[in-house]
Every structure is written in structure tokens, then in C-alpha cells.
């Protein structure tokens, strides 16, 4: 299999998984027909020609290197949706969003020229991969399953499944970064609301 074909097949996985999840939706009654139909429909929607190119080719124009973390999280979300089993627990998702938000805030502002320091260049050396292995170890010791997703990033990068040779692209992409920032924002908002709620509750008790 040529490298170009391998990169194309891998790049198609994340859009297909995301579209399948959207089509399956939140309906609690999942029939086999609905599941298979949704997976096939997602595949064919990505094949629809727009301006002489498939809609997947337009996706590739924007993002050729979906991260292994995003692809892994989409796989888990879809599997959880189909099987009804919680592979990722609440704390696993929480760590996934926190990791993504920290990585996005480290990478994008400086990578796009905020300072003379460019963290994206670290991805061509071994530093980011080693840091990822450290994070994965720490998470696995604490039995956090997001550590397994980080191993996927290490393996995928080693197998050259992406067009990019920069390890940051194995770990991060703008979609994962944006989702993580939104997810972290939601977590912070929830925490703020609960702390305000508990304060109000205490005030009520005092009065």
C-alpha cells in the first residue's frame, strides 16, 4: 500500500466517524438497520461530488492530518454509543478535554507567531513524543484510560499514518483543540455554578 493511499485512508477515518455519530444521533432505540444505515450513509455522504471533488477531498483540503487523539476519541464515542457500555468514564473524558485545552493553548498562539518561540518545531524532535509517553504513564498509573489514546498517537506517528511527520499533528488538530477548549469551558462553568450554588445554600442555612 502506497504512503499516499495510507494517508488518505487514515485522513478519511475521523470525518467518517464524526458524521456517523451525528447521523446516529441521541435516539436511545438503536436498531441494527439504523446503525448500519448511518455508517453507510456517512460513507456515501463523504463520496458526494461537490465541484468535481468528493466532499471528503474538500475535508482533506482543510485538514489532512486529523490527530490520533481526535480519531481515538471519536472511535470511543461511537463504540460507546453503539454498545451502550461506558468505555471512557467521566474522569477519562475530563482529562481528554483538559489535555487538549492545555496542548491547544501551548501550541496554537505561539505556533502562529505570538512570540519568537515556536513550539511546533519541537514536534520534529523527540521532545513532544517523550513528554506524551510521560503523560501516558502518569495517566495509566492513575488508571485513567485517556493514557491509552496517547499510546495510539505514539504508534500512529511511528507507522507514518499521517502526511505530517511532526508529532504535534499526531497529538493535536484544530478540531480537537477547539472541542477541548469548549469542553473545559463547560467544566469550569459547571464548577463555578456548583460552587455558587453551595455558597447560596450555606448563606440560606446561616440566615
Amino acid at each position: 500500500m502506497s504512503a499516499t493511499l495510507l494517508h488518505t485512508l487514515y485522513a478519511g477515518l475521523a470525518p467518517w466517524l464524526a458524521l456517523s455519530l451525528l447521523l446516529i444521533g441521541r435516539n436511545p432505540y438503536l436498531s441494527r438497520t439504523r446503525v448500519i444505515g448511518s455508517l453507510l450513509l456517512a460513507f456515501f455522504l463523504l463520496r458526494i461530488p461537490v465541484g468535481g471533488w468528493s466532499s471528503f477531498a474538500w475535508c482533506r483540503t482543510l485538514e489532512m492530518n486529523p490527530s490520533f487523539t481526535l480519531t481515538g476519541l471519536l472511535c470511543i464515542a461511537l463504540w460507546q454509543r453503539l454498545s451502550g457500555k461506558a468505555i471512557f468514564r467521566r474522569e477519562d473524558w475530563r482529562v481528554a478535554w483538559i489535555f487538549g485545552a492545555i496542548a491547544a493553548l501551548t501550541l496554537y498562539p505561539m505556533g502562529l507567531g505570538l512570540t519568537s518561540l515556536d513550539p511546533y518545531t519541537w514536534g520534529w524532535g523527540p521532545a513532544v513524543a517523550i513528554f506524551t509517553a510521560i503523560c501516558s504513564t502518569a495517566l495509566l498509573i492513575r488508571s485513567n484510560r485517556f493514557g491509552v489514546i496517547l499510546i495510539l498517537a505514539l504508534g500512529g506517528s511511528l507507522l507514518h499514518l499521517q502526511e505530517s511527520g511532526n508529532f504535534w499533528d499526531a497529538l493535536m488538530d484544530p478540531f480537537y483543540g477547539a472541542t477541548s477548549l469548549v469542553g473545559c469551558g463547560y467544566l469550569l462553568l459547571k464548577r463555578a455554578r456548583s460552587s455558587i450554588g453551595s455558597c447560596n445554600h450555606l448563606d440560606f442555612q446561616r440566615h
Binding site: 520534529w124 504513564t137 511511528l158
Partner: protein
């Protein structure tokens, strides 16, 4: 998670990280700059100057951004892009050749939007800036910009190689150089060879910021390895022109995007890794491209637009103190209301200096001169200014 499984996964993580560590290619600024030490002495002792048009009668609404390379056998090659407008779908990259920089062959198309789309397997809006690199094995490498969407901020860098003097080209390969959708890397100025066999290519980004970078390229058994480093961040200077002073020291001249309206300069003494903060020179810059070259006697030559507001002239300036002070040497072009832009200085195999530039957006002009001509111009300048003759 079961205890043995957890430790098995940790072992796998470290094995993979170790394998990635061993696989990391060493293409950092490990090589010394070669251009500085191998500039061929000019074979012509008498002052020589000639001007030609590379693409006479090409008849395109717009041509722009010329670059030059010397192929094997001393043949000069020029590439530029042309079409109805910048970033338009009909823009193509053209190549022309000349044996002595006098008579240029008819321009032929070497890259189109359709060809790039086919090679890269995705839709594109246009092609743009391109430079040529003459490789040591006789190959010719094209580094060119494709625009995915929008204008220059939606651009990416790609490369293709020709082993037959630019007649046929390999399948184009995309380089991933930016973390945000690989936006927006561009190339314009001359690449410098490294003694490690690789190349250092000045590139720049213009998306949220505008800033200069260097692309370090090396071909390892047919596989292209690359990485980049940053000269400066922010949104102030870009389009670097790299001028090696010796094996480790180099200068970059930078186009200004600030209200200073000056050519900026930055220096590195560690092979291009760490750069000083860009500082303005005395030379004006109307937010336009510049090009620099080191002469055999150590002086620096710079081609630029001597204006803070327009590109209606093209001037050569010379510095005897590594860019600290400059003397305006000669005005090559001046016509009110016209544009003469994007100069590209390079040295030909006979040691003479070539300057390619966009003339009125309709033509690619090339002036060829030698260092004796520069010395003569400098002497004339000294006489006019009442200074001691040039040594």
C-alpha cells in the same frame, strides 16, 4: 484497569517513544552554509552589465515573483507565475532557460492548479510563488506555493523534483509546516546550500501574524526530510532574504510590515538557529520584497525599492560593514506610476550576478552584471560625492 495490563501499556508507550526518538532525523542547522565560501570569482575582469527580458511577449495579464537557479552545465533557469491575477485559478508556474543569461527559451508551463490538484489529491484554488533549487546530484527541485482557499493566508508549500533539466517533474509532495490546518507558509527568496548536502530555504508565514522562518530540507535516500525554525515572531517583518557571511554567521534582510517603512536586518552566528531581534536599517521599504547577496570582497549587495510608499523604482545598495550602513549604488529602474518589484539576486556559474525582478507586472526582467561593474559604479559614486576612490 488490571495491574499487569496497565504496566504492559506503559512499556508499550515507552517502546514507541524510544522508537520515535531513534527515528528522528538530524536535519537541524547541523550543516555549515556553503554559499558564503564558494562564491565563484567572476571570470570577466572588464565591467559588464546587460539587461534582458526573460518572457518577451508572453502576453499574460500578470506575471510575478521570479526566481533563478543555475542548472548543471551552467544553464540558467528562471521560474515565475503568471495568470489573470494573483491567487486566480488560471495562474500557472512557468520555466525558461538560458545558456548565458542572454537568450531565454520560450516559457513553458511546469505547474498548474490542475496538476497540483492531481498530484496532491485535493481541490486547490491556485498556485503561486515558486523557487528553484539546483541539487548537487544534478536534479532541480521546485518549491512552490499552492493556495487551498482565500488568498495568501490559505497557502501551503509543496515540492517537486526534475531529473531532466525541468522537462518532467515528479509527483508534487505537500510539506506540513504549520499546526493550524497547515496555513500559511510561503516561499520567495533564494535557498542556501549546506555542507551536509541539505538546503536552508527562507520562508515566511502570513496568517494571523507575518513573520520570517527558515526551512531546513534534506533528501535522505529519496525521502524528503524537513523541519523549520523561526527567525522572529509577531506581525512586523517577513519575506526573509538569507545572506551567509561565513560558514556559521549569516544575515537576513526583512520586508517591513510596520509603520517604520524600513528594511530590517537580523543576524545569527550559530548557523541560523538563534537570531537577533530584527532592527531597522537606514534603507526605506514600502512593504515590498528585497534580495541580498554577499560579494567576493565581503561587501553586501541589496536590491530594493528606495521608497516608503511605492514600488516605482528598483535600486542597488552596497554595504561595507555587514549591513550597518549603506550606500545607494545605482538606480536600475524608475518610472512614476509603474512597479518594479520582488528582486531576486543570485550568482551564476561564471561568477557574475543575476538580478531577476517583476517589471510593471507584465514582464520578468533580468540584469546580469559582474563585480567589476559594481566597483566601477562605486568609484563613480565616490567621485560624485568627493570621496577617496574605491580601493
Amino acid at each position: 484497569m488490571a495491574f499487569p495490563l496497565r504496566w504492559l501499556l506503559i512499556c508499550i508507550a515507552w517502546l514507541l517513544a524510544g522508537a520515535l526518538y531513534l527515528r528522528t532525523p538530524v536535519i537541524s542547522p547541523s550543516g555549515d552554509f556553503v554559499e558564503a565560501t564558494t562564491a565563484a570569482p567572476s571570470t570577466q575582469r572588464a565591467p559588464a552589465f546587460q539587461k534582458t527580458i526573460v518572457n518577451p511577449g508572453q502576453g499574460l495579464p500578470m506575471v510575478h515573483v521570479a526566481s533563478l537557479a543555475t542548472m548543471s552545465g551552467g544553464i540558467e533557469a528562471a521560474v515565475w507565475y503568471g495568470g489573470s491575477a494573483e491567487c486566480a485559478p488560471d495562474v500557472k508556474i512557468y520555466l525558461s532557460e538560458s545558456e548565458h543569461g542572454e537568450q531565454w527559451s520560450s516559457p513553458r508551463v511546469i505547474m498548474t492548479r490542475e496538476r497540483a490538484e492531481h498530484d496532491l489529491g485535493r481541490p486547490l484554488q491556485s498556485v503561486g510563488n515558486a523557487i528553484l533549487i539546483s541539487e548537487s546530484q544534478g536534479g532541480l527541485r521546485l518549491v512552490f506555493v499552492t493556495i487551498a482557499m482565500g488568498r495568501w493566508s490559505g497557502s501551503q508549500l509543496n515540492t517537486s523534483v526534475s531529473k531532466d533539466g525541468g522537462i518532467t517533474w515528479s509527483q508534487a509532495e505537500r510539506m506540513t509546516l504549520s499546526p493550524f490546518f497547515n496555513f500559511s507558509e510561503l516561499v520567495r527568496n533564494r535557498a542556501v546550500s549546506l555542507d551536509s548536502g541539505g538546503w536552508c530555504v527562507p520562508i515566511y508565514q502570513e496568517f494571523l501574524g507575518k513573520f520570517p522562518e527558515l526551512l531546513w530540507v534534506n533528501e535522505n535516500h529519496g525521502h524528503l526530510e524537513y523541519r523549520k525554525s523561526r527567525i522572529a515572531g509577531g506581525c512586523s517583518t517577513f519575506q526573509p532574504s538569507l545572506v551567509p557571511l561565513d560558514a556559521k554567521s549569516s544575515l537576513v534582510f526583512l520586508r517591513d510590515y510596520t509603520d517604520n517603512r524600513r528594511v530590517f536586518i537580523s543576524r545569527s552566528d550559530d548557523g541560523g538557529w538563534i537570531w537577533s531581534k530584527p532592527a531597522p536599517t537606514q534603507l526605506p521599504n514600502p512593504d515590498s520584497g528585497i534580495s541580498g547577496l554577499k560579494l567576493n570582497d565581503g561587501k553586501l549587495l541589496l536590491a530594493y525599492n528606495a521608497s516608503t510608499s511605492c514600488r516605482d523604482n528598483l535600486v542597488l545598495a552596497i554595504s561595507n560593514d555587514q549591513g550597518a550602513t549603506w550606500k545607494k549604488l545605482v538606480t536600475l529602474e524608475h518610472e512614476v506610476g509603474s512597479t518594479f518589484s520582488y528582486p531576486f539576486l543570485s550568482r551564476s556559474s561564471d561568477g557574475s550576478i543575476n538580478l531577476a525582478y517583476t517589471r510593471k507586472r507584465k514582464e520578468i526582467a533580468l540584469t546580469k552584471f559582474n563585480e567589476a561593474w559594481i566597483a566601477e559604479a562605486l568609484d563613480s559614486l565616490s567621485k560624485i560625492q568627493g570621496e577617496a576612490p574605491h580601493p
